[in-house]
Amino acid sequence: MNVFEQKEISAAQSFLSFRLGKEIFAVEVSKVNEILEVPKITKIPKSPEYMTGVINLRGTVLPLVDTKIKFGMKPVEFTVDTCIVVLEIKVDDEKIQVGALVDSVLEVMEIDEAQLQPSPSMDAKYNLDFIEGMLELDNKFIMLLKIDMIFSINDIIDLKETHEGSSPKKNKSIKNPNNRGKK
């Protein structure tokens, strides 16, 4: 189901906002399973840089993604605020869990449909394949992410990049072994 259709059903939606560097992002709360402090991470050798490693989530092995590297920023620096947002995403009709490393988690907010700007059209430098909408709050823009799309792509993505090279249709899912993310 398309996210836009979902929105028509419920007028108000909950989002979890978090910070990466200076920018603020948000994801639907329904996709968030839990938020964790950072435990000991086991790095997997020879894996792409944005794949931070794996952690033990109560007996299951949870892969971690450094969201900042994934978005082409500097790696996450571990501070007391660093968190893991455990997301449940859908890849090829299969639900998998992934932990997203973020600089800090901010809040859960209820957003009215009306508040939501369906597309960041006024700021065309963002890649619409990954951004669901924009939200203005206290003079700050919050980007609502399409996480299913973002985390099913096995490469670094550039949110601001709009040229066709990073189009998810051509580069979909975790299939290309050569994209080790050495950008």
């Binding site: 086991t42 790095k43 997997i44 050798p45 020879k46 794949m51 092995v61 892969p63 975790i174």
Partner: protein, 695 residues
């Protein structure tokens, strides 16, 4: 569908497959009477259940077949190919009927009519008279050939009313079997003030003269078997109710009952046989008749019976649950061991060690329960080979070796299709026709050998044929035609043969029903790879081919060697570890040809530090080199430190790390951190591959 029917379905599926196997054996040894017995016995069981649970069509068909085999059993008829053919196609039809009991589907209807007709032809040919063909429910009557007087003791448990059973109905059912009398025994009834009206104190002695065989008498008790004591004894072969000399009154008194019964029995000593069905046979002693604890009566041999008792049926998801629990336990136990190490306490240590020992045993036991012999799979192929050999008009001998080799049931299930495909290929393309074979100086019967055996941590399955072999030139030409390789590419034999696993390559000049649709071997390889297995092929033109599948035995839990490299811990499956050595790190770094001499032999090695891009500055002075082996190839793997043995519960690392092939999984250590499980096969493959490139 109610649960009884469901139960029957499971049982019937098994019976049908047993029947099929028995028939195939019978086909090889048509004069073996014990096989005929076996076939007959399975059919009889199948029929009984079918009748009881409302599968009339199955009952009908098995009934007719039973008649035929009964005649064979009595030496009145020989086992012919025609009979076996019809029986086998009936067996197939029975499977369809299990899911379409009423025969509603058009194709089943057609088959049903056809098979019935075929059976009719046989029945008519051998001249079974209508009367004998019509007999129902009385197979045993013909066998034992006479009515008899049975003494039945029916002693319900006192709590029988609690289940809503009325014992009188049972008594009525029994009396309906023939001439009979029931004698109620009231000796168990307590004094009136102690009587509990909700309990049953009465029991019965019944005398019945009937032609019903003992097991059908027993059927009356089928639903209350465990709620009562039952004894059925044959007394004599004449009808006491028609004999004036018998004083029935003497039976009314329990004290004179038994002695009088013995007296009557002795009047006809020649015909006296003893049959006895009992769970708790305390009463049988009183009658003075020797009790035999034979549940199966005259069917089946003693060995068969022991086999029946020594196994129980368990739903496979229960086993999965058990395995999951054991996995959790292993992880928890690792935590306990670690805690006891860190908090020295004599008693805690003892407990922890004991629990570790028990966990290991529990793990092995639970693990072995999920293993089933691969014969389950191989047996199916017997039928395939039979059918295909008829279809292709080739004489084929199937040899099965190592059927007792055990593998996890999920692996076996997943192997069925790939193996079937390989086998079809061998039968169709591998083996030549008779005339070709004779002119090539070979035995006219082609042989396909399927064998399975353990080798270290793996199970090998080989399918070998003595056919014409794979023509490398043909494959090469085809591959060039399909653009899989270039015209001037130089490939060695193994590489060329490996091309048969490439998508879209089928060398069969003619596409047949059996195989050769051009899809197949690539799918086969994919399936095997999904099981973390390997598939190889070797062939010699004119002599035959062999396809080998190598599968890991390992499932969810493995014994491993825990090692450390930099900050990360790794587990190497213990089965592949040969020996550990210690070396100066400098020795390796100056090594150009990547070979190290250990115990006087040169061994190629792989420095994991280098392979995993570890920081060179943190390298320890001493390096541990672990020699692992695979298919006679030995490779040394260098790590920083060896921590010790560890039971690793394998957890998937998930899709995200699909490309990190050298990691076969992860495991959670006692302290909650994660160690990565190395796939040594992949590492060996890669390091050897690299070496070829490097040279």
């Amino acid at each position: 569908m109610d649960s009884y029917q469901e139960h029957y379905l499971i049982e019937a599926t098994e019976l049908i497959s047993n029947l099929e196997n028995a028939l195939l054996v019978l086909e090889k040894t048509p004069d073996d009477k014990s096989q005929v017995e076996e076939v007959f016995r399975i059919m009889h069981t199948l029929k009984g259940g079918a009748g009881m649970f409302g599968f009339q069509k199955i009952e009908e068909l098995t009934h007719y077949l039973e008649n035929i085999y009964d005649l064979i059993r009595d030496n009145k008829l020989a086992t012919t190919a025609q009979i076996l053919d019809v029986t086998l196609s009936t067996v197939d039809h029975l499977t369809a009927l299990l899911y379409d009991a009423e025969c509603k589907e058009e194709i089943n209807k057609e088959n049903h009519a056809r098979i019935k007709n075929e059976i009719d032809i046989i029945v008519k040919a051998i001249g079974i008279t209508e009367a004998t063909a019509e007999r129902t429910h009385s197979q045993k009557e013909v066998v034992s050939n006479a009515s008899a007087l049975y003494h039945i003791v029916f002693k319900p448990n006192k709590e029988i009313f609690a289940n809503g059973t009325n014992p009188l109905f049972i008594v009525e059912d029994l009396l309906a079997l023939g001439d009979g009398r029931a004698f109620a025994r009231t000796t168990r009834i307590p004094p009136f003030d102690k009587i509990n009206p909700e309990k049953c104190f009465v029991y019965w002695d019944l005398l019945i003269f009937t032609g019903t065989p003992v097991e059908e008498i027993k059927d009356v008790f089928i639903f209350i078997e465990d709620q009562c004591e039952i004894a059925v004894n044959k007394v004599c072969a004449f009808n006491i109710f028609e004999n004036n000399q018998i004083d029935l009154k003497l039976f009314e008194n329990p004290k004179t009952f038994n002695s009088y019964l013995v007296e009557i029995a002795s009047r006809a000593p020649k015909k006296k046989t003893e049959d006895h069905i009992n769970k708790k046979s305390e009463l049988s002693g009183n009658t003075g008749v020797v009790a035999s604890t034979d549940d199966d009566l005259d069917m089946g041999n003693p060995k068969e019976r022991i086999k029946n008792i020594s196994s129980i049926r368990v739903a496979s998801d229960k086993l999965d649950d058990l395995m999951n629990l054991v996995s959790e336990l292993v992880t928890t136990q690792a935590g306990l061991s670690l805690y006891s190490e860190q908090n020295p306490d004599r008693r805690l240590e003892v407990f922890s060690e004991n629990i570790e020992k028990l966990t290991r045993q529990l793990r092995d036991t639970a693990f072995s329960m999920t293993l089933i012999p691969i014969n389950h799979l191989f047996q199916r192929f017997k039928r395939l080979v039979r059918d295909v050999s008829l279809q292709l008009n080739k004489e084929i001998d199937l040899v099965i070796k190592g059927g007792e080799t055990e593998l996890d049931k999920t692996i076996i299930e997943a192997l069925a299709d790939p193996l079937m495909h390989i086998l079809r290929n061998s039968l169709d393309h591998g083996l030549e026709h008779e005339d070709e074979r004779i002119s090539a100086g070979k035995n006219k019967t082609g042989t396909v050998t399927i064998s399975a055996y353990y080798s270290g941590a793996n199970v090998h399955i080989q399918i070998k044929d003595d056919g014409k072999g794979i023509d490398q030139e043909k494959i090469r030409a085809k591959a060039i035609e399909k653009g899989l390789i270039g015209k001037h590419d130089k490939l060695n034999k193994a590489e060329i043969l490996d091309l048969i696993f490439a998508p879209g390559l089928s060398t069969a000049a003619q596409i047949t029903d059996v195989s050769g649709r051009g899809v197949g071997m690539d799918v086969v390889r994919k399936n095997v790879t999904n099981l973390r297995g390997e598939i190889l092929v070797d062939s010699e033109v004119g002599k035959g081919s062999v396809v080998e599948i190598i599968l890991p035995l390992t499932l969810s839990i493995i014994d491993g060697l825990l090692v450390q490299l930099e900050h990360t811990k790794y587990v190497i499956p213990l089965e592949v570890v040969e020996k550990c050595h210690e070396l100066n790190a400098g020795e390796l770094q100056e090594n150009i040809n990547q070979l190290v001499t250990l115990d006087g032999k040169q061994v190629p090695f792989l420095d994991l530090r280098e392979a995993f891009d570890a920081d060179k500055n943190t390298a320890p002075e001493l390096t541990q080199i672990i020699v692992v082996h695979k298919n006679h190839k030995r490779v040394g793997i260098c790590v920083d430190t060896i921590i010790g043995e560890y039971q690793a519960v394998l957890k998937p690392v998930g899709k995200y790390y699909r490309n990190q092939e050298f990691i076969s999984g992860a495991t959670i250590l006692g302290d909650g951190t994660i160690a990565l499980v190395l796939d040594t096969n992949k590492i060996i493959e890669q390091s050897i591959g690299q070496k070829i490139v490097a040279l």
